[in-house]
Symmetry: C2
Subunit: 400 residues, 2 copies
């Protein structure tokens, strides 16, 4: 059976870490000189591993296995958040490279802009035909630069965009850091990901009446902030009755207008979201939220409007891919692995729409991610590569 | 007995309204050309009414009654909030002028910057020796201009600052719009103000742990925003048990850091205040707030720190001044007046520290203030002037 060369794998990872190094992490925003340097580095490594390397018009780097199938597809993204960690994305790309180096029939891919400097999953969506030219025309980066200009600056203008021949693949594998503390707390070295949660996002807009905090009695006021607080407190009390075991819900922003100490807020805007892997749970929570808003509108003197910002669908992992990784994990790290869902979005969720897909997590020290301090112990990284390669081999053998 | 010339009073008000006119209101920020024009206008009117007019080094305009006492002091401020109402402040100054025109032995004053474009009650504090040169040196306006530069630009540099001879006065009177809807709702034409509430202001700082909204389970998270919401909901439930009949409490701002939809807030800052006219009620609410914060810190995974931003003292009206205004109101508008506290701060609260003081309110249409749409019916304005002049005369007669 093919085996991962873990020393080589760690060497590749540490080489990549030097491109755009920032403190103990990296700074490689999409299409920046550092990002493009990392993509060229990757193409060299792909060729070294016997793959046919190319880059496409959105920045996807693709390494095609020249031999016979059945084939797998593996990878992740290679750019980073600003001044962020060295493993987020890079790990899945270098892990895919380790699969190729081990002799597996794998195409390796580094998707562009998973981190959303310019758009939402530009590379993975482009590769499956879900990114229109018009969207590329209209996108502007966080720094105000047009996506078209960024592509031109990176020398990508005019290149064709890769369209994956999805029928070519038995499955997609993506290794990634957990970005949470489940594995670390359990003392586990790897996690087999059961799926990627869907995110349902809302904006709650409460309309009251702006007034003087001294002149307006409690009985007269229509305080939009207070209505928002009561509604959020009701959600806090009610959601545990409807959630699943791993549901999360988060209010990330409460903006009171005008936001001064002596003025009763005339308007409140609240960002609220929940995530789960089961559509049924998502629907239950959506219904509960609607009831709570309705209830608030019946009781309160301020009207609350519930606006939907986005509703993704959960991406469930393929059971046979999971079983193969389970077996590889139990063989390499007996009792020190588990299944768990991914609370964050990943390129794998787009691949899962077109082929069996799975992810493999390794622990994040302290759960830190999107920060340069992000890290994982070398032995856990190596264990991840070992399980990834062995699991893929087991899957191909069983599928064979 | 002296009587108000209400036609003349309304004519003065409408003349002043033309200086810095903005829509149906005015724009006369402190020390602006429009503000200085209004101060010069006032000095002319003072001289016309037989007073000795002067302006001092902070912008206070003072009209001294040249005859024998016993004297009263009356007035308010003449600058406006930005693009705000024509009556806020101006009414009290022109009302004081009406007292002088009626022959009452009154010194008229227009305090500078009650509206706080550069500081907090600069004019009234200066006039009673509660404004240090060092504070003037350090103050910077909302637009970034230094107070010293603004004073120089207005031609006030080097002028001495008026120090009121507080022993000269039997009392201080300030007429003002209500800035609420108590009088309007009751169908009353004037209100005799029982005092100016104290404002106790706090900042609640909640410290949690910033984390990924997907990767961090509900059990693991330390959500500073959620702790803030629970605490505010507890205040909402608990404060009605401790408040007085006219207490107000307000949360004007909730800032979650970093404030993004997919990030668990690591920090929350909340501006909270309450107002009451009774020190005992203020102390009861302060104790309740401390208990709630303590309780939160016992239960929650995020620590809340309670910071005091300010605690003013209530300024109670003089009972004899109130009784004189009561009698004048009942004579002029039988059954159409009431006593009520002021929820907003006014220059009178500083005068009340050194002499008997009282305020007289007229209705605000729709309770609107700090907005150019602010207005009061002419007949209510005239009624206010009538009651002010008659009340002052009754007070002096009784004080003999």
């Amino acid at each position: 059976m093919p085996e991962a060369d873990t020393a080589r794998f760690l060497q590749d990872l540490h080489e990549l870490r030097r491109i755009g190094a920032f403190k103990t992490g990296v700074h490689r925003p999409t299409y920046s000189p550092q990002d493009m340097e990392s993509r060229r580095w990757l193409m060299d490594k792909m060729r070294e591993a016997g793959l046919e390397a190319s880059i496409d018009g959105i920045g996807n780097v693709f390494g095609r296995h020249p031999g016979p199938g059945p084939h797998l597809l593996a990878g992740s993204h290679i750019e980073s958040q600003n001044e962020a960690g060295w493993l987020d994305g890079a790990l899945g790309v270098v892990g895919a490279l380790a699969m190729a180096r081990a002799g597996l029939p794998v195409d390796v891919i580094a998707f562009a802009d998973e981190e959303g400097h310019f758009g939402s999953f530009l590379g993975s969506r482009s590769s499956i035909g879900e990114l229109e030219e018009a969207e590329i025309d209209g996108q502007v980066g966080a720094g105000g630069q047009k996506l078209r200009d960024a592509l031109a600056g990176a020398g990508l203008s005019g290149l064709p965009r890769l369209q994956l021949d999805t029928g070519r693949y038995k499955g997609f594998l993506e290794m990634h850091i957990e970005q949470g503390t489940q594995l670390e707390r359990a003392g586990h070295q790897v996690g087999v990901v059961t799926g990627i949660v869907a995110i349902w996002q809302y904006k709650l807009v409460v309309t009251g009446m702006q007034d003087h905090a001294g002149g307006t009695t409690m009985a007269e006021r229509r305080d939009a902030g207070l209505t928002a607080v009561r509604l959020l407190a009701a959600i806090d009390a009610e959601f545990p009755r409807h959630c699943g075991p791993r549901t999360t819900w988060t209010c990330g922003r409460i903006a009171l207008d005008p936001g001064a100490s002596s003025i009763i807020p005339g308007r409140a805007e609240v960002l609220f979201q929940f995530r789960d892997i089961e559509t049924e749970v998502l629907q239950r929570l959506d219904a509960a939220l609607r009831r709570l808003v309705q209830d608030s509108n019946r009781r309160e003197r301020c009207e609350t409007e519930l606006r939907i910002l986005g509703r993704s669908t959960p991406a469930l992992s393929d059971e046979r891919l999971m079983a193969s990784l389970d077996a590889a994990a139990e063989a390499a790290a007996p009792g020190r692995w588990q299944r768990l869902p991914s609370g964050a979005g990943h390129d794998a969720q787009y691949m899962a729409r077109h082929m069996p897909a799975v992810m493999l997590f390794v622990p994040s020290i302290g759960g830190i991610s999107h920060h340069w301090a992000e890290n994982t112990a070398d032995e856990d990284l190596a264990m991840g590569a070992r399980v990834l390669v062995d699991g893929a081999a087991r899957f191909l053998a069983a599928a064979g």
